[in-house]
Symmetry: C2
Subunit: 104 residues, 2 copies
DNA sequence: CGTATTTATATCATATATGATATAAATACG
DNA sequence: CGTATTTATATCATATATGATATAAATACG
């Protein structure tokens, strides 16, 4: 199974190998999940350049486990938290916008 | 008071004329609020071109009052909902990205 | 103007994202 | 290899965003 679909499924909390299809996702829902995954990936790579998960967590009043979830595309993490975390790593609105614009 | 600051305050649930200062917002927090307001404004104008609040609400499984709040920058509305609503009005990731990129 | 449609405001119960904590697993590094 | 640091996973109580509902206010429109 290609990596993209695998990530999509896993980000929805699904286990790959289950009969559950992700075909019942509307195009908008797929785009939405892709946006979250794109932000998640970018957060991870940019954060790694600048600080530890614990440092970032402290900076935004969150916790290290929550940052780990954010970086791993956990579906319980909101775009809110992803963006707050990215801004705290130094991301500009321009950079965030470009990441989203690059989806789809 | 200039419109921008007024919107910022109001979006935080504050009444203009209160002594509450918004100077205790970090630069990141200000940018975050501005991103939400920019999305909110865009949702309103684009949705109006295409459908009623009720129609949009039904389309994404939400309610008309919640769409009204989304379009009016109510702080209880998440970026999640704003983006889901925008996608349902036909916005592309490119368009959403550009709006965010235009902040700051 | 008067009626119909649309949007805004208020309230509420509930689902869900949240930070906190503990700890296992992985990685760095001497 | 062995220890320290960092990251991932699990659990939990709680804050907050959610849709539903009722209804007021605004707008469209004949």
């Amino acid at each position: 199974m290609e990596q993209i679909k695998k990530e999509l499924l896993e980000s929805r909390g699904w286990k790959v190998g289950t009969v559950s299809d992700f075909l019942d996702l509307t195009p908008e829902e797929i785009i939405f999940v892709e946006i979250k995954l794109a932000l998640s990936r970018n957060l991870k790579s940019e954060r790694q350049k600048a600080m530890t998960q614990r440092e970032l967590a402290t900076k935004i009043g969150s916790s290290q486990p929550r940052i780990a979830k954010a970086e791993n595309g956990d579906p319980s993490v909101s775009i809110e938290l992803l963006i707050r975390a990215m801004l705290a790593t130094g991301a500009t609105p321009q950079a965030i916008g470009q990441i989203i614009a690059g989806v789809g």
